[in-house]
């Protein structure tokens, strides 16, 4: 046994083997990125297909037409007339209209506070009880009064009203149908869904007075204009990068394109030529949305409750009218009505590159995993290396001195085989763990600082706070590094242990995050990739300076700022949105950024500025 241990430790010290890990971890990053770029190819992505037998999309005739168009026009006049009225006045009228259709109506007030601002409003909803159903399940049709951009959803709400009246006439519903008109597209749906599942903060958010069964699906209409449209834009990203079951999307796409002849597009790819570039672009946009983890429409709030939901946005100038849109909804609801159990047959983890092309988790996951693995490999390598004895000091000019002592030898025996090796190759140098652990733990805890700061200050302060924090972010690493050097005089071993622990934690977090939010894990992994190769360079200040500049360019703050500039948003707006996400949606992207990414970055930067003490053999 001891022989075996000795041979493995021999293997561990093999200088050839010790050269491999840095190249291996670099290879991991390269393969990880290349893998992602391969996904849009035909060989790696698949065409979508319906997995749930019960759905039967597009197998029914739709009858939403004819006189219903007149009803729709009437409702649209009502909605237009309400235009800029107050929320309560609007709901009074909508309630009246729903009641006239013979539905049970209820309202819900809500009030959220985030970043010093108050978001309040009132939702109204009506329940159509399934005439022959058992009221244990329900599907939701949502039309927010104002869409994500704050524009009046005039055709959308009118369509919800018309469909409510139309659905009431059918007797074939097996599930209740809830028609929900929220005051806005961001806070309102969240308040309603929270209250529906009794997880809301009362009294700020009112409880629902009327409820139905378990929600099986939700479809949102975002149709703010009057003219005819060309195609459907389907928005499917949920909060924290969660996605609805792929079957729901497939159903809508199958119905829209197969039954109604309406094209479907994703991720604002208004033109999609099915080329590699377009597929890649769609996929990357999807990944970015998933990585940001924000709500992309009223449907997003439903998804964390395992209610599959999507938003349908008509766009373009074409010849499809609001009745065609209504028929898409009708057919989709007939399909959802066919469901016998929750959507579960198809994928919940996927990347879409076209309305009918996707890759599933099994195909794309290795990409983020490889990037995360690179940190872990390097961490293990550094740990092994930190235990290696110091190289013997060779004095200049005494290369072949005969009086030099031969190194002490040790005998290793395994079975009949024996080997004689220098004793020092078997020795493990004692690792001084306290300082590295303290530094890594300290920087992890420091992450709470920006997390608290950016979620608990009022909105007008955000630009100032951000500038302040960026300044701190620039000055802190050299300062902390100097403090560390002067106070504790860390050795090179301690520096490599600091790096090892920091990378280990990063690798650990990212590989687990990859299964939950692939895109975020991949993006953070990519931005932190240079951290793998940062080490103290006391004798090469110029290279250290260049590297520091590079690392600063990839700092969370810089990336945040560059992102805001790229999309033409003020940094204040971005932070306000993030705080809103944190307070209302329960978004946890910030936690990953400030408590995983930023500490790793800080530790990397500190060790780059480090000056290890000369080590002497004891």
């Amino acid at each position: 046994m001891s022989g075996l241990l000795a041979t493995t430790s021999l293997l561990r010290r093999d200088p050839r083997l010790l050269k491999v890990p840095p190249y291996l971890s670099f290879l991991c990053i390269v393969i990880g990125v290349a893998w992602l770029l391969l996904l849009p190819l035909d060989d790696y992505s698949r065409g979508t297909y319906i997995s749930e037998n019960a759905l039967l999309p597009g197998q029914v005739h739709t009858y939403f037409a004819g006189s219903d168009q007149n009803v729709f026009r009437g409702y649209k006049h009502e909605v237009d007339a309400l235009g800029e009225r107050s929320n309560v006045e609007v709901n009074d009228k909508l309630g009246e209209l729903f009641k006239a259709s013979g539905l049970k109506v209820a309202r819900q007030k809500y009030e959220y506070k985030s970043a010093g601002e108050t978001y309040e409003g009132e939702n109204i909803y009506a329940i159509l009880h399934a005439p022959r159903g058992d009221a244990t399940e329900a599907i939701v049709l949502v039309g927010a009064w104002r869409n994500v951009d704050g524009v009046l959803n005039r055709s959308g709400v009118a369509l919800v009203l018309t469909l409510a009246r139309y659905f009431k006439r059918w007797s074939l519903w097996s599930k209740d149908i809830i028609f929900l008109v929220t005051a806005d597209s961001r806070a309102g749906p969240q308040a309603w869904v929270d209250a529906y599942h009794d997880t809301h903060q009362s009294p700020a958010i009112e409880s629902l007075s009327v409820k139905s069964g378990a929600l099986q699906g939700a479809v949102v209409i975002d149709y703010p204009f009057d003219h005819r449209f060309e195609s459907l834009h389907i928005v499917y990203d949920g909060i924290n990068g969660q996605l609805p079951n792929l079957d729901l999307l497939n159903t809508v796409v199958a119905i829209a394109s197969g039954q109604m002849g309406i094209g479907a597009s994703l991720q604002q790819m208004w033109q999609h030529t099915d080329s590699y570039q377009d597929r890649l672009k769609t996929m990357l946009r999807g990944m970015l949305n998933q990585g940001l983890g924000h709500a992309s429409g009223p449907h997003s709030s439903f998804i964390p409750y395992h209610v599959d939901a999507i938003t349908l946005q008509p766009y373009g100038e074409g010849w499809q009218d609001e009745m065609a849109m209504g028929r898409v909804i009708e057919s989709t609801f007939r399909s959802l009505n066919n469901l016998l159990e929750h959507l579960h047959q198809s994928f919940f983890f996927y990347l879409l590159m076209q309305a009918n092309r996707f890759v599933s988790i099994g195909t794309y996951l290795p990409s983020a995993m490889l990037v995360a693995c690179n940190f872990t490999i390097m961490a293990i390598f550094l740990w092994v290396k930190s235990g290696a004895p110091l190289p013997p000091k060779t004095t200049v000019g005494s290369t072949t001195q005969s009086d030099e002592k031969a190194p002490p030898l040790a005998v290793i025996q395994e079975g009949d085989a024996k080997a004689i090796v220098p004793e020092e190759t078997l020795a493990v140098r004692e690792r001084e763990l306290f300082l590295p652990l303290a530094v890594v733990a300290g920087s992890q805890f420091l992450g709470v600082l920006p997390l608290y700061l950016f979620n608990h200050t009022s909105a007008p302060m955000f630009p100032a706070i951000f500038t302040l924090f960026t300044a701190f972010n620039t000055i802190a690493p050299p300062l902390l590094s100097h403090l560390l050097t002067t106070t504790f005089h860390p050795t090179a071993q301690q520096y490599s242990l600091i790096k090892s622990f920091s990378l280990l934690i990063l690798g650990l977090f990212l590989s687990s995050l990859a299964t939950l939010n692939f895109s975020l894990a991949f993006l953070v992994g990519l931005f932190s990739a240079p951290l793998t190769y940062m080490q103290p360079l006391p004798n090469r200040p110029i290279i250290a300076g260049i590297l520091a500049l590079l690392l600063t360019a990839l700092a969370p703050t810089t990336v945040l700022f560059a992102g805001a500039q790229y999309w033409g948003l003020g940094i204040g707006e971005v932070l306000k949105e993030a705080a809103f996400g944190w307070d209302v949606w329960g978004m946890n992207t910030q936690v990953v950024v400030w408590c995983v990414w930023w500490p790793a970055w800080l530790t990397g930067m500190v060790s780059l500025w480090g000056r290890p003490r000369e080590e002497v053999e004891s």
């Binding site: 039967l56 399934a130 022959r132 159903g133 074939l172 097996s174 007939r334 009505n337 066919n338 016998l340």
Partner: protein
């Protein structure tokens, strides 16, 4: 002379009443119609079964002799746009559910266990007669199944499945228990033909909708009901039965039915298995469609398969009667002899025949004994030689 002819009767009677070889006649018709899948999107499977139910009823099998197994109630499903009805055609001309329908096993009663118990009649005393297959060895049975299947299995409901081996064993048990005379097995599911590949009991003709690794497809959907309403194989079977077998007197044969299958229409390769049937394909093809899909009215043989002692007593009685008649005849002959000498053959003729039959049996018995002894001796010699060689 008349009397002499009359005296031959016992010989003829004995040949009729002796333990029967397979007779071509059956006296009752039964149908077991099974859908094995539930849920709204499997509407077509229930429609398949109900269409066949309507057909066999039309051709004369009464409800009391049809076992109908329906695992779900499509008529009352809230998703049904036409409540209380089931249609197997988009023209919705015939409501299959209608009135006058008797479902014997419904909902969760449709299980593999209940199905096999039904076939083999292993049921408790409390089981009502309407849920039992009360057949005997003169009953022809039509077994029709439809649902979702695979290679050598058929799914029941959502939880269990019956394998081809289970089914084959159940049929064998039925045969051993003399529960059928002839059986037509018909199945419409994916890879249906694998389901009858394991059968090994005699007098079965089996047919299925598709070969191994082949799907069975639906025929068409009703866009107002919103689901497919019938499967292709069943549709074309019904098509034949509706158009060609119009009344119970139809002389259409199973050969005609199977020849009507058009693979380009059914979209799969239907199969037929004849080898278990006496007369193989030739014999099977000549069977009338009405032998399985209709009800027999014209043939009634009361005593067939009746009480054993009863007919023996009858025979004994008859023998006595014959002896009595013979004595009387001899007495008459003696009286005639007194008048005319040459005519003396009449009386001896029948008695010789009976004796000859006895001698024949004795002869074969000795022959068989000799052959058996020879065979045994041969085996012993071979064995001895073997052991000798081994020891050497």
């Amino acid at each position: 002379m008349k009397l002499a002819n009359f005296l031959r009767l016992p010989v003829l009677l004995a040949s009729v009443l002796a333990p029967i070889p397979i007779s071509a006649e059956h006296t009752s018709n039964w149908a077991v119609l099974v859908s094995t899948s539930r849920f709204w999107f499997n509407y077509r499977h229930l429609a398949n079964v109900l269409s066949l139910y309507r057909t066999v009823k039309r051709l004369g099998i009464p409800d009391s002799q049809i076992i109908l197994m329906l695992p779900d109630d499509m008529a009352c499903n809230p998703r049904n746009a036409f409540p209380g009805t089931v249609y197997s055609n988009a023209d919705r001309a015939v409501d299959l559910y209608g009135d006058n329908i008797e479902v014997d096993y419904r909902g969760y009663e449709v299980t593999v266990e209940n199905f096999i118990r039904l076939l083999t009649d292993r049921v408790g005393e409390e089981m009502p007669r309407s849920k039992r297959l009360l057949t005997d060895d003169r009953s022809n049975i039509l077994v029709y199944m439809t649902g979702h299947g695979g290679n050598e299995f058929l799914k029941f409901q959502d939880a269990e499945e019956i394998s081809a081996f289970d089914l084959a064993d159940a049929f064998e048990q039925m045969w051993e228990k003399k529960r059928y005379h002839e059986l037509l097995f018909m199945i419409d599911t994916c890879q249906a033909n694998t389901m009858y590949s394991k059968f090994y009991s005699p007098n079965i003709i089996a047919t299925g909708s598709s070969e191994i690794d082949q799907s069975s497809y639906s025929h068409h959907a009703d866009n107002d009901v919103g689901v497919a309403v019938i499967d292709r194989y069943t549709y074309y079977n019904l098509d034949f039965l509706e158009t060609q077998v119009r009344e119970p007197s139809s002389k259409m044969t199973l050969g005609d039915l199977f020849d009507s299958y058009d693979e380009s229409k059914i979209h799969s390769h239907p199969g037929v298995r004849w080898d278990l049937f006496p007369g193989d394909e030739q014999g099977g093809r000549e069977r009338l469609v009405m032998d399985f899909f209709g009800n027999v009215q014209n043939v009634e043989v009361d005593n067939a398969g009746g009480n054993d002692t009863e007919w023996k007593e009858d025979l004994l009685h008859l023998g006595k009667k014959i002896a009595e008649l013979r004595e009387r005849a001899e007495a008459q002959d003696a009286a005639v002899k007194n008048n005319t000498v040459p005519e003396s053959r009449g009386g001896s003729h029948p008695s010789r025949k009976i004796r000859a039959a006895k001698v024949e049996i004795d002869e074969t018995w000795w022959g068989k004994k000799a052959v058996g002894a020879l065979a045994l001796g041969g085996c012993a010699i071979v064995w001895l030689a073997g052991t000798y060689q081994e020891s050497a």
